[in-house]
Amino acid sequence: MRTRTRSSRRLVVLAAVAALGTGVLAGCAEDTEDPSGSASGGGVSGKGKTTITVGVFGAFGLKEAGLYDQYMKLNKDVVIKQTSIERNENYYPQLLTHLGSGSGLADVQAVEVNNIAEITATQGDKLVDLGKTEGVQKDSFLPWKWSQATTTAGKTIALGTDIGPEGICYRKDLFAAAGLPTDREAVGKLWAGDWNKYLAAGKQFKSKAPKGTAFVDSASGVMAAITGSNANRFYDKDGKVIYKTNPAVRQAWDTAAEFAGSGLTAKLQQFTPGWDQGFANGTFATVSCPAWMLGYIQDKGGEAGKGKWDVAAAPKPSNWGGSFLAVPEASKNKEAAAKLVAWLTAPEQQATLFAERGSFPSSQAAYALPAVSGAKHEYFDNAPIGEIFSAAAKGVPVQIVGPKDLIIAQNLADIGMLQVDQKGTSSKDGWNAAVKAIDNALDQ
């Protein structure tokens, strides 16, 4: 009897150990998804099918919108496989490494707009000229989107997928509580034409704000939106870094700093867990939202936020983000991959991507399609997002991009403005801290 209990106790212990062990293994398994490993494959696989690999960052949307499935249905001999790395900061260095070594590349690689200038300037010879691919129509793209990915030698090394025209997403319930208008037309008029009116609306909101809520999520979000409404940002057209003296950047900085200084922000950092919780708990009333952010807000805001959110036009047309697709010369299926990219970036498919995921087309030919012009977003109280973002896209100035846009934007936001917003650093000290970090980062 005694041995019986002993052995059963041992069994219990063993079971507990096994349970813990599997739990631990499961925990480890979470981050074993290898982003590059399978991407290096490609070539012709069994049954004579061509496998095209696509490397993207984040939830890029092509797969989610069902475009791969559609293409595979149209082309029975093609299999598309996608690998995704969550964040572009991790995706981009790896892409550069792979381009440098000519191996480990997917047949199609996504490029974010903040990196496109650097890719075009330094990696042009390692990428296929998609401008010459059959079926690609230059005229269907926004001219500036096309030229951003065209080298000085006239080679177009990537085709645009989406752009990021901005609106202002706002909470109707909080606006009503603070005595502001809730109708999207009226809200748009509240700040039309001037970011300072947006600031004034914020001050008005604050005077009667429900407890525990702020007008805007973060000061850096405001700064990014204002910066994005200017043609000149960090570089001039000769490729010189001008952000320090550019009055447009300075104005964006000062306005955003005033948001922070006046206590209008929820002091959050975008794309961090705290920001997500802010959406879930409704702690801020507005956020500058590019078209692609609508899906994010829907995910994080959840059921509780449904019908409470709405979209209005931004004070000035502005652009934030957008992406491209490129085909490396090292790909084993260059032609098949280029054909796929041409199809994915064609107006009809961009319209599908917008309808399914909210990524706004970079193809101006798509704007006339009913899937775009008539698009409404159910989560945002059926806001006519096609109309709102098309109007914004038309007004976006042709922006000058530079190779280190990402680093400059990131340090201005995550070092400088974040200090001002979260730590209460003075605007001047925050600016100096950002400049110091950028100087260090740009110095080779």
Binding site: L20, I415, Q422, K436
Partner: protein, 364 residues
């Protein structure tokens, strides 16, 4: 051990020749069988001499064979350890040397093969690089406030686990689970725990009347939070190492101490700790190396907002700064110089540890 067996092999093989006859004559008795076997072996050299020719040939063959086996004995250990060294060369030594070479150049990730010689500039600029000194300082402070409590707690846990406990196996495994947990998963949970607005720790502090702490933005608070993750992950690992060493301490030491009237605590201080001295030194060295290379925890503690280590770089460690220079700013040469500086710092720490270890051993 292995070489002995190898050396014995040739004679056994040769001796095996007459063995097939043996069972027939001896009726299969194992004892006698063995004798015959040995006799045959001994008989061999001076045995029947059917002629000089075959004998000389045999001699030569044996000579050759024994030479081969001598060579085998001499070189096969190297063959056995070779796989490690091959991998070490490919993934340890080569990267180390190549990094050293790259650190003397201006290299950008956009064109890794395009190197421009700059001599020691990448190192000399570190002297005036305030981000580097900030990172070094953060690394040292985080290292201290994570390693010291970690090793003390580990020692305590090991001491407790060394008692006869019910389900001691369970506790030993449980203590090790944080170590086996993915750093990414663990850190994400800690980010939520240390959240400013909805973090559980601030909620608990609120319960006892302390206002919300902005863990991430304070210099000390953020470093404390990062250290907590490190302590949580590594304490169990060190505890098991201590436990293994404790179990090797002979029991009579404790018995005689008990006879002398030493209390549990006195036994711990005067018997356990001195016996653990080499182990403690070992864990100190390993933890110091780990602390110097600290990377994953501070990276992820930033909530996925990059390698800056917070708005004021307040928890950017050397590892993070290296990463930022190499993979965010794309300056491989500068990053390589930081990597080599870290390596040199570790060598210095190693040397200091060695000196202290020697002093301790002498004084003991």
């Amino acid at each position: 051990m292995a070489s002995d067996a190898r050396a014995a092999a040739p004679s056994e093989e040769e001796g095996a020749a007459p063995a097939p006859d043996a069972p027939a004559t001896n009726g299969g008795s194992t004892g006698q069988d063995h004798d015959t076997y040995r006799d045959a072996r001994h008989a061999r050299p001076g045995g029947a001499h059917p002629g000089a020719g075959p004998d000389a040939r045999e001699e030569r063959r044996r000579e050759r064979r024994s030479r081969r086996y001598r060579r085998d004995v001499r070189w096969s250990p190297y063959a056995f350890v070779a796989p490690f060294f091959v991998f070490f060369m490919a993934f340890g030594l080569f990267p180390l040397l190549y990094t050293g070479w790259a650190s003397l150049h201006r290299v950008e990730l956009t064109a890794p093969t395009d190197m421009e010689w700059v001599g020691l500039r990448n190192f000399s600029r570190l002297l005036s690089d305030e981000f580097f000194w900030n990172a070094l300082q953060n690394t040292v402070t985080i290292g201290l406030i994570s390693t010291i409590p970690q090793l003390l707690i580990a020692l305590g846990i090991a001491h407790l686990l060394n008692y006869r406990l019910r389900g001691s196996m369970f506790f030993r495994v449980a203590v090790l689970t944080p170590y086996a947990t993915s750093v990414a998963a663990a850190t994400l949970v800690f980010v939520l725990l240390f959240g400013r607005d909805y973090g559980m720790i601030n909620w608990l502090l609120g319960q006892i009347g302390i206002g919300a702490v902005d863990w991430q933005n304070g210099t000390w608070t953020s470093q404390l939070a990062v250290s907590t993750i490190v302590i949580w992950r590594w304490t169990g690992y060190n505890a098991l190492i201590y436990l293994a060493a404790m179990q090797a301490i002979p029991n009579d030491l404790y018995e005689s101490a008990a006879l002398d009237g030493a209390s549990r605590w006195q036994q711990f201080i005067h018997v356990t700790v001195p016996s653990l001295r080499p182990t403690i030194l070992f864990t100190c060295v390993v933890s110091t190396i780990g602390a110097t290379q600290l990377f994953g925890e501070p990276l992820l503690f930033n909530g996925g907002a990059g390698a800056t280590g917070g708005a004021g770089h307040q928890f950017q460690t050397l590892g993070l700064y290296l990463y930022e220079q190499g993979w965010v700013n794309l300056h491989l040469g500068r990053a390589s110089a930081i990597a080599w500086t870290m390596f040199l710092i570790l060598l210095i720490i190693g040397a200091v540890n060695w000196v202290i270890g020697r002093r301790l051993r002498k004084s003991a």
